[in-house]
Symmetry: C2
Subunit: 408 residues, 2 copies
Amino acid sequence: MARYVFKFGGTSVGDAKRIKSVAEKVKQAHSEGHEIIVVVSAMSGETNRLTALAGGLLVKPNPREMDVLLSTGEQVTIALLSMALGALGCPAESFTGGQVEILTDSVHSKARIKDIGVAAIQNCLKSGKVAVVAGFQGVNEQGHITTLGRGGSDTTAVALAAKLKASECYIYTDVDGVYTTDPRVEPTARKMDSITFEEMLEMASLGSKVLQIRAVEFAGKYNVPLRVLSTFSEGNGTLITYEDDGMERALISGIAFNRDEAKLTINGVPDLPGVASKIVGPIAANNIEIDMIIQNIADDETTDFTFTVHRNDYHKAVALLEEIKTSLSAKKVSGDDTIVKVSLVGVGMRSHSGIASKMFDVLASEGINIKMISTSEIKISVVIDEKHLEAAVRALHKSFELAGRPVL
Amino acid sequence: MARYVFKFGGTSVGDAKRIKSVAEKVKQAHSEGHEIIVVVSAMSGETNRLTALAGGLLVKPNPREMDVLLSTGEQVTIALLSMALGALGCPAESFTGGQVEILTDSVHSKARIKDIGVAAIQNCLKSGKVAVVAGFQGVNEQGHITTLGRGGSDTTAVALAAKLKASECYIYTDVDGVYTTDPRVEPTARKMDSITFEEMLEMASLGSKVLQIRAVEFAGKYNVPLRVLSTFSEGNGTLITYEDDGMERALISGIAFNRDEAKLTINGVPDLPGVASKIVGPIAANNIEIDMIIQNIADDETTDFTFTVHRNDYHKAVALLEEIKTSLSAKKVSGDDTIVKVSLVGVGMRSHSGIASKMFDVLASEGINIKMISTSEIKISVVIDEKHLEAAVRALHKSFELAGRPVL
């Protein structure tokens, strides 16, 4: 007998038929003698419906009340799923975030979990019932309802798995696992049987949005094995766990890419201490997230500073940079919002050299110009022109033999 | 400065425009310096939508989970109304039943309020905010969500008014007050400026369904003046309060009627102690509510027993009575599901005699045969054939001068 957390996203519980099919899956595991905690999202479309209700008021919605509104979405799902389970003879009890008690900070719509009460769920499991928990929501110390932000149900599931010491946390979704790259770009992309937390973090943050990055961080931090798998088909999905030293790891696990990037450069900045923060500070203060940052010394007295932002923030960032240019007496601001980032990810890089040079060779042989490079211990990212994205991903996927490699 | 509870039903908050207009009304009172607690129902149609979601599962819904599901309806409204108020510059904070804490027993879907926590709302009012409370819902001692049953928002409002010692509880609805009888039956029916709790109880339980009967009981018990008025038009509505001895009361306040009645008789029952409970017991055990009961001695050894039930329960009640007939060796079971009940209500009856005989005279002069009579201190009810309903109500309304009488 083991204890598992199952998480089902909005599409998996999108209508009565799907809820019943989720109930069948849960019942199966419960009847095998396991303790099951199910975390569910709002039915697909529900969050949009609720947001539209608030939108109908034509006012700026109060964040506290927006959370009160949106949290009803998952509450509907927990009630329906618990009913469906009960009707299958599988006893179940529903829990809102407040009932669990999932304690968060007070940042409405983007709250972070601080602690989780276990008594209520432990009692539920002890009495032989399935615990059905509303994802995405919690309460702060004053008992006000908070939400973890869109997709936060993954985080709820992982946090519960950590706190309740579950053997594994299953994230059921509409894809059957994590792929070496996006199959829409490279049809030979292969589902991985396993991937490390670190690799998954790099894959997720770089654009393979199977899982919420916060959930992966959490899982890694508390060493909760995560499994991403499909609600709608059979199969074991992809297990995300710590590197097993006994395992022969491939050099490269996958290729992530991000189409939403834009690049900005400010040239001729005086090369003095504190200058970087004078550039990055105002950008961050305007809620623009900066991704890659590169600084080159141009000559003895000035430096060039280049960074990337989300494409939606490009024009705002250019305007801010023009102001910064004046205040710093820099020379020029330039930018490009037709670029993409492509990254090789793999823990194997740690012990193998030559990955970067091979990557650059492959791109060169395709006639692809590299505009920026950034590396970490387990990834190499390059910025290239967006028109080369497909060619780059395919050439790299082939050269690093991601398609043909036998299953780990 | 006074403290008021305002309650708005589902129609009053049925869409964004109406929610904004409710917010205007609340803001007005708040800006006059009053402390306002607003209790709201689910938006009209919402409870049906949620019930249909559960219905889509095609299973018998678990009552606990049904309450979890349905309670989201008011939660949506409190969030939207609080947002609308905030946008008008009227600070507001929403409260679910659990957040208030409205403590109930554990009878899901028909819970009764046991106590109400006041700290959270007191703090909210003290900080100058409007408290927006979800009606119809509470939590039991284990923290499970309960509902008070349809229309229970009235009860929430009155209970809050009692506990928070509000000056008055305003029930905003889609009618502009309590009428002497149903204006659809008698066009000269007049809105009353005031009515006593006892009269209102008789009116409500007899079919003038403006207010939940439980709410009126509660208001009477804790002496909370209630005011029924329209959300959509101006006017002071009808005040429901204790009899003011200084007031010249009319003999009759109003005429209530109920079209949903059916009548059953079991003849030739042995006239022995305990027989009545042997008849009523099995009926009640099958969740059939009995309204009027009349027992007549037929001869020395047997008696006839007649009672009324809701028309929907008629066939079930007949079947039960056939079984009872056999076990009691009674003679015959008969019944009629084409009857209605018409009642005169008025505290003035207490001090005036002759009302009953005048009522019977009026009906006789219309050629209306009376099938059953039942009286209490402040009402006289008769059962007549349903085809005579309109004629009876109109003749009584005219004879007791309900239309023409000057306003109290």
